[in-house]
Symmetry: C2
Subunit: 276 residues, 2 copies
């Protein structure tokens, strides 16, 4: 009834080749708000060579998205995202990318679909993994396993964060970010956004994820992408283009607990980052 094919679990989807140039890398960087002061991410001729924001790996993943059956996309919501990096992403070339649905859980009203996406260099060395969770509203109740409880990650109460960075998004942030691959009209078409229950088009969750990656990179890694290892978030509220994003982080053993807020709401929570 939901169109979801439960038999996709555990099957590797075909490998895709994502070919890209420095222009794609720069377009992505501008899409997540990079400024001219961040020359290493937006200028192909920069001394030391163009660098790639770790969250860029979301671009190749679009082409490797798994087959799931006949999905009603307005009811399909990106819930969680984890990116694990094995080495810096080259500034141009080719990435081999493939995905697998690792589990589908039955949460009653919704199904939770867990997808693992793997990225390899052209000579098949590991570049990254992405673990995504999607909530598919109305697709639960098929008698499946509820799945394990997820770890609850919260900032320590009453403790000031170790860092806090605020970035402004622009009115046309989503219009720019979508050129990096996710053309879902929910992020630009006012009529479709209203139809989907939003008062206006919303920013891509992965755009917020990218802004947060920038904040972490400058606050904790001195701008060095090779120190950025693993970053996991839950998307908890919508962001409208033009809102500001405040990223806060608290040191917590070998990682930092991360939280991102707009003036209205917490938008990324249950989040951590591991850096070197």
């Amino acid at each position: 009834m939901s169109g979801l094919d439960l038999n996709v679990v555990g099957k590797k989807n075909p490998e895709k080749s994502y070919k890209y140039t420095s222009k794609d890398v720069i377009l992505y960087a501008l899409g997540i708000g990079a400024q001219t002061s961040e020359l290493q991410f937006i200028y192909e001729g920069v001394s030391g060579g163009l660098k790639v924001f770790p969250s860029f790996v979301a671009a190749p993943r679009y082409i490797a998205f798994p087959k799931l059956g006949k999905i009603d996309f307005p009811k399909f919501i990106h819930g969680e995202e984890l990116i694990r990096l094995h080495q810096p992403i080259p500034s141009q070339g080719e990435i081999i990318c493939f995905s697998e649905v690792t589990s589908i859980y039955d949460k009653g009203k919704a199904a939770v679909i867990n997808v693992k996406t793997t990225g390899l260099s052209k000579d098949r060395n590991p570049l990254f993994e992405i673990e995504s969770a999607f909530f598919y509203l109305g697709a639960g109740g098929f008698g499946g396993d509820r799945g394990p409880k997820t770890e609850k990650i919260t900032p320590p109460e009453g403790i000031e964060p170790d860092f806090s960075v605020t970035y402004n998004t622009t009115e046309n942030q989503a219009a720019l970010f979508r050129l990096s691959g996710d053309l879902n009209p929910l992020h630009i078409d006012p009529d479709l956004a209203r139809f989907g229950g939003q008062e206006k088009p919303i920013l891509h969750g992965l755009c917020t994820y990218g802004f947060t990656t920038r904040a972490i990179l400058y606050s904790l890694c001195d701008g060095d992408i090779s120190r950025f290892k693993e970053f996991k978030v839950r998307f908890t509220n919508v962001v409208y283009p033009g809102e500001s994003l405040t990223t806060e982080g608290w040191k917590d053993n070998g990682r930092y607990v991360i939280q991102v807020k707009t003036d209205r709401a917490v938008v990324l929570s249950n989040a951590y980052v591991i850096i070197d």
Copy 2:
């Protein structure tokens, strides 16, 4: 000595095929500051179909740039630009584009190189012509013709303009605009900009031209690209990304005299537009 080959005059350069998608059209629109309220230029799924800003034709022209000899590009300055449109540019497809150096004049210190670029549809119907003048500093004094005096076009003194529109550029406007084709590092590299005699990277003249095209389109054409016929400017001063651009126009028989200012200077002058 200047490297300029005077024998290029009057020779048609090879035809080039410029293939583009709606993504190129949207990227260009964002590069000249289009906002989400201008949905017809930035959303491929917009009701009525994606439209193309008339100044987009500067993108295909890059690939058809004429051979001129061995040019020292820091001394090569875009002086004037005229775009004549025969029909609206399709939102995707292929443009056949070729150029010809129509004359090289000897202004003493500088040479002036006049280039005509022609754009045809795939079935060879005329789409546009571009007439550009480039000043090549230090390349004059070769005993050539000084060329005719150009028409002087100035706003009427003491008369309020018939329209005035101010747009803000952003700090990374040039970083975004350059992804539409003109990767000259003068527009992003602080070291090279200083080497070229600028205190910091400057906005592309054609980006200012594009912002002005937007201003004219909304002030005089009700946003209807088919009414935009011919637009000629002289580039008279540099613009830095982040500055605001005020476009003013005065009705003058069958055309409008146009002038564009920042807070510091007049940056486009000797300019007119013809609309339907």
